[in-house]
Amino acid sequence: MPDGPGLELIRGEIEQDHPGAVLDTSFDRDQPALVVDPAQILAVLAWLRDAPGQGYRFLSSLHAADYLPAEPRFAVHYELLNRDRVERLRVKALLANPTEGLPEIDSCVELFPTAEFQEREAYDFFGIVFRGHPDLTRILLPDDYAGWPQRRDFPIGGEPVAFTYNERNYG
């Protein structure tokens, strides 16, 4: 992993080309992370992939998380991997939940084709719309399912367990 100073170097270099893109860096438990402005996420990902010193060409995982009750609520995580230097880097884009409609962010399918299914999954579970995705439909849940299950305020569902003892004795 790029260590602390290495992370700051990356941040500095991105700031030169795309000012205002990187909002924060963190180096928690040996895992570096860049917090990026969602409007410039494609520029940052393209820079990380193509800039000569970097080479984060492999997107290991694209997933979303719900940080309720913290604001902004949603985050899309991009786990990047540089296979030449064997280093991982996490890029986070924080999205707030708009009062109406769904949170939106640009889709990175053109940069990383592996994101196709994974963005659909984030849409399916959180309701995050990826602008520019070729086929943004539900992938794991039935097509007519209503609701975004993985959000923190969605109930877990299921039934309470009925015990025969209770049913028999207490009606």
Partner: protein
């Protein structure tokens, strides 16, 4: 022994009459009624449907038909892929909400008499997954004849359940209890049944599905 020999000699000579003859025949000939024989035949030559959903599928049907826990001993090794040719469906694995209508349709396509085994905790009652995505027990949408607990149940447990089902079939139970599950009248006929008239909605859905690929 001598007695039997004497009676056999009488029989051959045509000397046994009346009560003696009846007793002789009863001892020699296996008398049964047709239902019992039918039940015995059905139980010992089941054709299970190859239907595996999740983890339990690795234990059965795959592990059950392999050499150690041989399902062929019970006459059920001919797993059929088509529901029309099968008479037993083993629901092995968790039934998710997307899969439930498919399972029901498969069950409807099977021909009578048919049996359903719910294998494992997930298909019997939702198992450990008490959440939005798993149907809490396949009982909720189709009649099940036998539940086998376990997560996953050992193949021996499934075989024990299978023998219990066999005894149930040999006892020739009345299938009318399935009315409770609305299981009569939902059979899917290929031709000539209640749903055999041309279905414009199906044609429209087909066109829409093709549109999905085109787009």
């Amino acid at each position: 022994m001598r007695d039997r020999q004497l009676r056999a000699r009488d029989m051959l000579r045509g000397d046994l009459e009346g009560e003696d003859l009846e007793r002789y025949v009863e001892e020699r000939v296996v008398m049964t009624n047709f239902d019992k024989m039918l039940g015995w035949a059905r139980a010992n030559s089941m054709f299970p449907l190859t239907f595996g959903l999740a983890c339990c599928a690795i234990e059965a049907p795959i592990s059950l038909v392999t050499a150690r826990y041989d399902l062929a001993r019970f006459g059920a090794e001919a797993l059929r892929a088509s529901p029309r040719q099968a008479d037993m469906i083993i629901l092995s694995g968790r039934v998710s909400i997307k899969m439930a209508p498919v399972v029901r349709r498969l069950y409807d396509q099977m021909l009578e008499p048919k049996w359903a085994i719910s294998m494992g905790a997930c298909s019997s009652s939702g198992g450990m997954f008490s959440n939005y995505a798993v149907v809490q027990g396949a009982d909720k949408f189709m009649p099940i004849d036998l539940h086998i607990p376990g997560c996953p149940p050992r193949p021996e447990a499934v075989l024990y359940g299978f023998t219990k089902l066999q005894r149930k079939i040999m006892g020739n139970p009345d299938q009318g209890w399935r009315q409770r599950y609305n299981a009569a009248g939902t059979e899917e006929w290929a031709r000539g049944g209640p749903r055999s008239e041309p279905n414009p909605e199906a044609a429209e859905a087909y066109e829409e599905a093709r549109g999905l690929i085109r787009a």
